[in-house]
């Protein structure tokens, strides 16, 4: 059992440790930022090229009209679920081990949603007309089509994004106050003063704070579930083989949590290293997260097998053909590695000695996310190249550098947002860690008294 947070750690110590992460960054930080910006540059370049010449340069075709954009869009939406899981769900479950890590998980939620949103725009043929999809009273006297899952999607994502931003912010107020009080005067102090909304830590403030936080948390959970269910309905509500599957919504949600947790492990390890948070992001937390991830991985695997089974034993020959095609057709390598990364690799997490081994977990978490990205691609692409209508089957459709470039860049974009966040806001929740430590010392004291009484 790895060393857990010391219960005798001084509260002041916590502040200084965490606040350190807001001080002027190490060189490595700038390197990462630089790389991220370079990646964004690639994506922007590709997008401009595509904007000017038309979607053709992404090398999609009729009927293969969707590609990596949609796949990666789902991937990022999926990412976003972990934060809500850790902070909201576990919050309600009073799992206090989450406390040191939920802050950056929430940040992840927000930023991956922001990334996902971009893909909606990138994917459109006439992005300059995107406002047609917004339901507002206009001089054309026409509304968007409220029947379209794509429209629900847009709305759900926007709601989710706005409320998770709210959640993140509300949760930060006490910490912002701490920062405000500890930072030397300057524009940043002003910023924190503004953001901390005059937090004094009075009883009344704490009471209201708790109620608000709880309410938002409760509000967020159904939202999180609905968002990915709706993304799933983009496919489930269509008529196409490989998409028209009842189990898609839970399947997607599970997949989302899965990739989300995997991402948390990755970032956990990175932050732990970059900001020297060994004190707080302890191995025992890693272990708990890993176990959680493993559980979800199994759920996902189960739902995945369910899907195959329903298709296989279903009457729908076309869908069955498609499944076979996935396994033996040109997409086979990706499909198999998807299944491998998604369902076999997680078993490493079942072994105790791996659960706390940083390098192994780092590799595993990356593999899991690769698997999950492939999963999304394998949902989107094969249906087009091997759908209902044989005449239009198209087995050698391959995304062009434009698609790859934009997908690649999106990771840079996410990294940039995240790194900046870690420098501007405390990425570990100080007040909650303090609570945690406090509770534990109480518990210890009780034990202490008990032992005395024995004499």
């Amino acid at each position: 059992m790895g060393k857990d947070i010391r219960e005798d750690i001084a509260w002041a110590q916590i502040n200084t440790d965490v606040l350190k992460s807001l001080e002027s960054p190490r060189r490595l930080f700038w390197v990462i930022i630089g790389v991220a910006i370079a990646m964004i540059g690639v994506a922007v370049g590709c997008e401009i090229y595509q904007y000017q010449n038309g979607m053709g340069v992404a090398n999609m075709d009729n009927p293969h009209v969707w590609g990596l954009y949609i796949a990666t869009f789902i991937f990022w939406i999926g990412m976003s679920h972990s934060g809500t899981l850790l902070s909201a769900i576990l919050h309600l479950m009073h799992a206090d081990w989450r406390k040191p890590i939920y802050r950056f998980a929430e940040a992840m939620t927000t930023f991956s949603l922001m990334t996902a949103g971009l893909f909606v725009a990138v994917h459109l043929g006439r992005v300059w007309q995107i406002y047609y999809a917004i339901p507002y009273p206009n001089e054309r006297w026409v509304w968007p089509n409220f029947q379209s899952p794509l429209l629900w999607d847009a709305m759900a994502i926007f709601t989710y994004l706005s409320s998770s931003v709210l959640f993140l912010y509300v949760g930060m107020i006490p910490d912002l106050a701490i920062v405000r009080d500890n930072i030397h005067p300057g524009w940043r102090k002003k910023l924190y003063t503004l953001l901390s909304l005059g937090w004094e830590g009075t009883d009344r403030q704490w009471r209201n704070f708790r109620i608000t936080y709880l309410t938002v948390a409760c509000f967020l959970i159904p939202l999180a579930v609905s968002v990915h269910s709706i993304v799933a309905s983009d496919f489930a509500m269509s008529q196409q083989p490989g998409w028209h599957i009842t189990s898609f919504p839970p399947y997607f949600v599970a997949g989302a949590l899965y990739s989300g947790c995997a991402a948390i492990i990755t970032l956990f390890i990175i932050l732990r290293y970059v900001f020297k948070f060994e004190e707080y992001m302890t191995l025992s937390i890693l272990k708990k997260t890993t176990r959680l991830t493993f559980a979800i991985a199994m759920v996902w695997t189960y739902l995945n097998l369910i899907e195959y089974a329903t298709v296989w034993y279903g009457h729908d020959q076309v869908a069955k053909d498609l499944l076979i095609q996935k396994a033996i057709g040109p997409y086979a390598p990706f499909w198999w590695s998807m299944n491998f990364c998604g369902s076999i690799v997680p078993f490493l997490m079942a072994f105790k000695r791996f659960q706390t081994s940083i390098p192994v977990m780092f590799a595993v978490s990356l593999l899991l996310n690769l698997g999950m990205w492939l999963e999304r691609w394998m949902i989107v692409a094969p249906t087009f190249s091997h759908g209902y209508y044989p005449w239009t089957w198209d087995h050698d459709q391959w995304p062009s550098f434009v698609q790859w470039g934009i997908v690649f860049g999106s990771f840079g974009w996410f990294t940039l947002l995240f790194m900046v966040f870690c420098k501007v806001f405390p990425s570990v929740s100080m007040y909650e860690v303090k609570e945690m430590v406090y509770h534990r010392t109480l518990a210890l004291k009780k034990d202490g008294l008990a032992t005395k009484g024995a004499h």
Partner: protein
């Protein structure tokens, strides 16, 4: 524009399929194609290029599957892999089936494709934002997306070729979806003339470009509401009903001597195009 107005017009905005509360009143445009007469000569396709301002994309883009032929001739071989195709090939002209319950219509986020009172599946270029969801959900894959900006692409309409463009319909620019419209520009001008004379369009008054060109008269097109129209007679005789997903032909007993069918009917899009099975002589 009030919300109430939106709710009122909802049913008109989305005409589901004809056995619901709003059956077609004046017109229901439909087609029937006799595969026994179709020779696969591709005339219909070229005529469509001429009528509907279809861009010629050239070899490279064609290779990428970006061809824009609204009506394509599919060529199938018998699958009992015999040494020679001694039964000949089997040709099938495939264009938008103008489904009554079109899968493409429900999914479009901006309602750029929806149903008209005449049973057409309209595609509105200037409303389209290019999400391509319609094509993704089309079982027949007869929707074609403007992957490039063809009006400005070299050698698509070089001077003076753009003078051939038909002013009756828009020339599509990059990023919009397009598909067969049953030559809607012809339908509307025919309806317009008829209305001026205070009557309905009578059979044969309006022809689609493909039908007009077809040298063997394999394609017939008309108003299914008008019982005197050739199409209505053919559908009637083949016992193919618009609002059914299983026709008498497929019934166990009876109906075997019919050859009218609709493609992928079991998916319940209720297509407006009936095909007549190709016949082959058994004596030779």
């Amino acid at each position: 524009m009030s919300l109430s107005n939106l709710l009122e017009n909802w049913s008109q905005f989305r005409h589901e399929h004809p056995n619901n509360d709003k059956p077609h009143e004046e017109y229901k445009w439909a087609m029937s194609i006799d595969l026994d007469a179709c020779t696969g000569c591709n005339t219909c396709s070229v005529a469509c290029y001429a009528e509907n301002n279809l861009p010629v994309v050239g070899k490279e883009k064609f290779a990428h599957g970006q061809a824009m032929h609204w009506i394509r001739i599919e060529r199938y071989w018998d699958e009992d892999d015999r040494e020679f195709a001694d039964q000949g090939a089997q040709f099938l002209p495939m264009m938008c089936q103008q489904c009554e319950a079109a899968p493409c219509e429900t999914v479009c986020p901006v309602g750029a494709t929806n149903h008209t009172a005449d049973g057409l599946n309209s595609q509105i270029y200037n409303r389209c934002i290019g999400s391509r969801y319609c094509s993704a959900n089309c079982p027949f894959k007869v929707r074609y997306f403007n992957w490039y900006n063809y009006p400005t692409t070299e050698n698509v309409w070089p001077e003076p070729m753009q003078q051939q463009l038909n002013p009756d319909l828009t020339v599509r620019t990059k990023g919009v979806m397009e598909k067969c419209t049953f030559c809607v520009q012809r339908l509307y001008s025919a309806k317009n003339n008829a209305r001026t004379e205070g009557r309905l369009v009578h059979d044969g008054e309006v022809q689609t470009a493909c039908q007009q060109a077809c040298p063997t008269n394999a394609i017939s097109f008309g108003n299914l509401v008008d019982p005197q129209s050739k199409v209505a007679k053919q559908w009637e005789q083949q016992k193919v009903e618009l609002a059914k997903d299983k026709q008498l032909k497929d019934a166990e007993e009876g109906g075997t001597d019919l050859r009218g069918y609709r493609i992928l009917e079991e998916l319940r899009p209720y297509p407006s195009v009936m095909y007549l099975e190709r016949v082959r002589e058994s004596a030779i």
